[in-house]
């Protein structure tokens, strides 16, 4: 495929709605993609360490992403939480059981009695299987008179 000429891009750009054109004039595609200069991300002030809201609120980001999606230029916008790429990534993560805190929420650690229940029931079952033999041994030893294996 031959690379489209500059004039093609310009004519394509003229088909975009003015709202997107204004955005791209201020933030040209390919720039402002890092976290600090991204107008879709909150920033921390270097001196005061105060957090400042993103230049474009989530509502305005959603509008921009929607318009860009309709015109097929969504990937030219800076990374946003409202982009379909981000949403697909999140959906994929959730499908495979989530990550980090979300995963821990889905797979809770459980109470101690819940975590140890299976092992305790197994131990009890094993003890009950050996119980008749143990009682027989105990009876033969004189009902505990010669018994040596006292529990702790």
């Amino acid at each position: 495929m031959t690379s489209p000429s500059r004039s093609t891009f310009i004519s394509l750009a003229h088909t975009l709605p003015p709202r997107l054109l204004r955005f791209f004039a201020r933030y040209p595609p390919g720039t402002h993609t890092d976290v600090r200069s991204n107008p879709f991300k909150p920033t921390v002030h270097a001196i005061t360490k105060r957090w400042h809201n993103p230049i474009f609120s989530y509502r305005r980001q959603a509008v921009l992403c929607k318009i860009a999606r309709q015109h097929g230029v969504e990937e030219l916008l800076p990374p946003s939480r409202k982009s379909s790429a981000y949403k697909e990534e999140k959906l994929a993560q959730r499908a495979e059981g989530g990550v980090g805190r979300w995963k821990r929420m889905l797979e809770p650690k459980g109470k101690k009695w819940e975590r140890t229940l299976h092992a305790r029931l197994e131990k009890r079952k094993k003890a009950m299987e050996e119980m008749p033999a143990l009682i027989e041994k105990w009876k033969r030893s004189g009902h505990g008179r010669g018994w040596k294996e006292w529990p702790r």
Binding site: L134, H143, G144, P151
Partner: protein, 58 residues
């Protein structure tokens, strides 16, 4: 000051051998041999062997 005299009897703990954690507390003379008996364990709902647990060093 003289030490307090040891009591003639002691309280002992008889542990269920069904490993349920259920136990019975009994009083026996100090010089008696350790207690053991077949008693009902309500957790497994059966009569099982109960053995006296060793006393902890204090």
């Amino acid at each position: 000051m003289a030490k307090k005299a040891k009591s003639r009897t002691i309280a002992v703990r008889l542990i269920s051998m069904a490993m349920t954690g259920y136990f019975k507390t009994m009083v026996r003379p100090r010089v008696h041999h350790p207690l053991s008996m077949i008693k009902y364990d309500p957790i497994v709902r059966q009569h099982v062997l109960f053995l006296e647990s060793k006393r902890r060093q204090r």
